[in-house]
Amino acid sequence: MELIGLMFLALIFLMPLGANIYGRTRIRKLMITSAQTQSEESVKQHSLTAFHGLFMSMYVLLPALVIILCWLAFAPMVISSLLVSEISRLTGETDPRLLSIFVSKLEALYEGVLKAEFVEPEVRQALGYYGALIIRANIFLYVVTIATAIAGFVISARHISPRFAARDKFEVIIKRLMQLASGVAILTTIGIILSLAFEASRFFDVIPIREFLFGTHWSPQIAIREGQAGGSGAFGAIPLFAGTLMITFIAMLLAVPIGLMSAVYLSEYASKRLRNIAKPAIELLAGIPTVVYGFFAALFVAPFLRNNGSVIGLELSSESALAAGLVMGIMIIPFISSLSDDVINSVPQNLRDGASALGATQAETITQVILPAALPGIVSAILLAISRAIGETMIVVMAAGVAANLTANPFESVTTVTVQIVMLLVGDQEFDSAKTLAAFALGLVLFFVTLMLNILALYIVRKYKEQYD
């Protein structure tokens, strides 16, 4: 079976190659015969030989790929639904939850992960059916794929002739492929919106949207443990929003001045050598994974703050908003400085020359000419940074609290939207519980808030960016 699979895979790549070679050879032959027969007025070949080959290989490869992809996407669904009906036939069970557990067990059994003795005998009976099903599915795949490939070969081979515009046809195919690819970006967004909205709407069926958005009490754990549908009002997200905002605010307080000033210094004052070192360094800083910052926050910053805080007499919670905010600020510094640096650098040199030729000092040039010129870009960078801070997960998961306190005190522990999403979804999930669905509602809010910020940032750049040329 494995071997056949590999051979099939090889065939998928060999067939187009063969088609390519066939196409080239054929057009060459055709050209030679046409030169012999119509000696006076030899036919001009429309497209280069290579395009005939490429054209044919596309006709062979693409339909086959489409079929494979469809199979990959839908075969599991089809197979498992077939399994479900088979098992329910065997066991007489109708509860979909139980059925799906049976199916998982059967799959595990088939793969040898699960020992047979842990599996219900009825389910064990389905094992043979399952094996046959998979073999049939594979054979179906091989046959259909190869058949389409051959069909593609035959159809395309008939086109080959000197006057045939193989280049144009090939290019059209390429263009279509590219169009499809750019559709993926849109599909993703649609996917995000639909999936979030779908799950969230199920959540809002249970919890009124007003309560979710304006409620001040958040304790989803209780709701679950009591086995309630959550009607007791533990899903007020205001504390989460407040916590998120506070941490974001602290982060910005740290990141904006430091990031901006370092960008200014680097692009305007720093010597070439310093710049050559510092700029990549900052970019590397931006490449540090957030889980590292989270660890840093939890292990260094929070204890440090707490210890020093108690020295000055401040009561700091071990998971204070301050620690998470500061570390998030550190994470954002390279983001802001890197973006601002780009914007500042894209201010044309001749503006600097213009100002200094007027006798402006460098600081005057920067503050009065360059920064105003770069302002839209900088503002948009800051907005993007805010959006990033709001959506940042790992730092807060590791350094901020889980308790939903509604407080304005940065030394206390707060929780954020992303923390709660993680809390709600990590571990075993039951897709129907309000607890799980609440995560999607939070995700939806998160998505829309960041979307607005991003669009605003884009709008500012587009609207206020100066056109120097």
Binding site: P348, G354, A355, L358, G359, P372, E466
Partner: protein, 255 residues
């Protein structure tokens, strides 16, 4: 013309980029209220020399200037000299119009403001108006001083840059190919303006176009490989140059 003393007196100005000489000792006297045009093949050092006059070369790391350059009685390369003040006295206009992305008014007011020429709104209005008038732009923009400068046409932008430069009341205006980004009509307007500005300023202009040098200048200097080959009355340079290289360049033979 030779009655007065030179406004700019360059003696043996040598410029090196990374130790490679770009100018091999330039001696030039430029007199007040003259337009001096510098012409010559590409890379001969015209711009480099121009940028010596207001020390714009300071900005370039790898650039070293030696020799003596006097403006009136001040030695430009005296270490005591304040570059900021120097540049207020020596305005500069660049190849590509480079208005600040601010309003027309603020562009012109920028120089006077940083130099503290006035803190009085009325005075500032007056300065702005005068400068724009001198730059021949007032009639076109007086109604929309608060509009963005970048909304102006190329030629207007360049005149705005001239207005901005003269708003700080310099003695000298340096222009580095001020028309090479403009179309012929805008070019003529600027050339005309240069001619008028001569009454008040000493102007040094670098140009690629011999025609332009001929049209706007009283003196012309021909640069070649970092040397001034000939400097004299424009009229003479174009009708009877003394030097064969100048002659060859002027009359379109390979220099």
């Amino acid at each position: 013309m030779m009655l007065s003393t030179p406004k700019i007196k360059s003696s043996g100005i040598i410029v090196e980029y990374d130790g490679k000489r770009a100018l091999h000792g330039i001696d030039l006297d430029i007199y007040p209220n003259e337009v001096a045009a510098l012409i010559g093949p590409s890379g001969c050092g015209k711009s480099t020399f121009l940028r010596c006059i207001n020390r714009m070369n300071d900005v370039i790391d790898n650039c070293k200037v030696s020799g003596r350059l006097m403006i009136d009685d001040t030695d430009v390369y005296d270490p005591e000299i304040d570059v900021v003040e120097l540049r207020a006295r020596v305005g500069m206009v660049f190849q590509k119009p480079n208005p600040f992305p601010k309003s027309i008014y603020d562009n012109v007011a920028y120089g006077p403001r940083i130099h503290g020429l006035t803190e009085n709104k009325d005075d500032m209005d007056r300065i702005v108006k005068k400068s724009l008038k001198r730059a021949g732009l007032w009639d076109e923009v007086s109604e929309r001083l608060d509009d963005k400068a970048l909304g102006l046409s190329g030629g207007q932008q360049q005149r705005l840059c001239i207005a901005r430069a003269i708003a700080v009341n310099p003695d000298i205006l340096l222009m580095d190919e001020p028309c090479s980004a403009l179309d012929p009509i805008a070019t003529s307007i600027i050339e005309e303006l240069i001619n008028e500005l001569r009454e008040r300023f000493t102007i040094v202009i670098v140009t690629h176009s011999m025609q332009q040098a001929a049209r706007v200048s009283q003196k012309t200097g021909y640069f070649h490989l970092g040397n001034v080959i000939e400097f004299g009355e424009t009229n003479d340079i174009f009708t009877r140059p003394q030097n064969e290289q100048t002659e060859a360049y002027i009359s379109g033979r390979i220099g």
